[in-house]
């Protein structure tokens, strides 16, 4: 198949970017989107031009590195897929495909399609952990009985790969789905309960500090999330945030 690509080109964080057009021929429908980008970059290198910078790592849909906004959607068309799991057969022959980086004040562009998502790391550092005694007396996690329903909900939340699609797709660049998934994953389990109050307050405060927008419940995040994280997590976090602020001293 033949396609026309319009890809965001931006030299560095302080440069102004613009869309650049490239035509590609003989693209196989079985290629992943990233493989197609590899071929394009190979062509550009052979022509002595600058390849496009983009993030990728596992290419198995679990690392959360790939971060392209394709044809107006985070990770492109299709549901529950990351860009690396998106195949060219999802596009039509002759189609024009727009490829942009995640756009958010909290995710500054490093170069082209690559953005700095360390704001997510700082949110995790603020409270997204469980303090465990590792002196050698560590209790086996499986020794504590956990209701099946809680375990399932915690696991569903834990499938978040921190890719940032929720922020990218939210019209307000809100990080509520990511933060609420992390808060839920830890706070639903007994090991995470002792720190649950301070965790939600600290993580939400850090989220606000990073310059993410506010949640207006459009629900776009849960639709575009490659792991299908539900916005019920956001409601849970809102509950926890409210009650923690009311009850913590």
């Amino acid at each position: 198949m033949n396609i026309t690509l319009k890809i965001w080109r931006q030299k560095g964080p302080n440069h102004v970017g613009a869309m650049e057009t490239h035509k590609m021929t003989e693209v196989s429908g079985d290629m992943s989107f990233l493989e197609m980008m590899d071929v394009l970059n190979g062509n550009l290198i052979r022509e002595g031009k600058e390849p496009f910078a983009f993030d990728h790592d596992c290419r198995e849909g679990i690392c959360g590195s790939c971060s392209m906004f394709i044809n107006g959607e985070a990770h492109g068309p299709g549901r529950n897929v990351t860009t690396c799991q998106l195949h060219m057969r999802s596009f039509k022959d002759g189609e024009t495909i727009h490829v942009e980086p995640w756009r958010s004040a909290a995710f500054p562009v490093i170069k082209d399609l690559s953005v700095d998502r360390s704001s997510f790391d700082r949110i995790i550092q603020a409270g997204g952990y469980v303090s465990v005694n590792t002196s050698g007396e560590t209790i086996d996690a499986n020794a504590i009985p956990i209701p099946k329903h809680d375990a399932d909900e915690a696991f569903d939340a834990a499938t978040c790969i921190g890719c940032g699609a929720c922020v990218a797709t939210c019209k307000n660049s809100s990080a509520m789905l990511f933060v609420s998934a992390k808060v839920s994953q830890l706070s639903l389990l007994p090991q995470g309960k002792p720190e649950s109050k301070q965790r939600v307050i600290r993580m939400v405060d850090q989220m606000d500090l990073e310059g993410f927008g506010n949640c207006t419940n459009t629900g776009a995040c849960e639709v575009e999330c490659p792991k299908g994280i539900s916005i019920t997590n956001i409601a849970r976090m809102n509950r926890a945030f409210l009650s923690s602020n009311l009850t913590s001293k």
Binding site: G72, A105, N172, T218, A220, A235, R239
Partner: protein, 214 residues
């Protein structure tokens, strides 16, 4: 936004129930409506409620503006291509626009009726201010040249309110942390019904008054 929004939903119910008296015709209707208007502007308990409503509206507006500015700042560079319609409802993405339409409507609406009732030059009939005539005449093409335009604008404003409520009602519960496999579908259903019935009820009045007087 959630708390003030839901509080204002209660106000809408009260306001609509009062307005529905305009469907009662003749002298009887006029008397009932004017006595009701008199009660609504003088009863101390209603006064407290009305000040709470003013505060609620102002807070809702200011909060809305502040949040919208923050949200715009959170994405300084816009997408070249963005397909929000594939993942969210139009109303949910345009609450600020819909709210602004409602604000313009509110100012005009309060100037037409609230201001006249409180501070305007209004006729006294049977010892009470005749707000009934002010209202009925407002939508009478023989008295108000702009009656047709006003009726159209009122219906347009109520359509905006329908979309605003359609997202706002259920969204308020999510913000307050209420999301439950059994209750949320009920909330969504009530919200949908509310967002259709309340604006339809309000819009029916100018349409009715305009038609019977044309």
């Amino acid at each position: 936004m959630a708390l003030t929004g839901l509080f204002l939903c209660l106000f809408l119910v009260g306001h609509l129930l009062g307005n529905l008296q305009l469907f009662v015709g003749g002298e009887e209707g006029r008397e009932a409506f004017n006595n009701y208007a008199q009660f609504m502007t003088t009863n101390p308990l209603v006064k407290v409620l009305s000040y709470l409503t003013y505060a609620g509206i102002i807070f809702h507006i200011v909060d809305g503006f502040v949040l919208t500015i923050q949200n715009r700042k959170a994405r300084p560079v816009k997408y070249v291509v963005e397909k929000g319609n594939l993942n969210s409802s139009w109303a949910s993405r345009n609450m600020a626009v819909l709210g602004t339409i409602l604000l313009v409507f509110l100012v005009s609406h309060m100037q037409s009726f609230w201001y006249v009732m409180h501070f305007g030059d209004i006729e006294i009939v049977d010892g009470v201010k005749d707000l009934h005539s002010v209202t009925v005449d407002f939508f009478n093409p023989a008295i108000n040249n702009l009656a047709a335009v006003m009726t159209g604008l009122y219906v347009f404003a109520m359509l905006s309110m329908a979309f605003h409520l359609n997202h706002g009602f259920q969204s308020a519960f999510q913000t307050m942390g209420i999301n439950h496999p059994t209750y949320t579908p009920v909330i969504n259903f009530v919200g949908k019904a509310f967002s259709i019935l309340i604006p339809a009820g309000f819009a029916s009045l100018p349409i009715y008054l305009f038609i019977i007087q044309s």
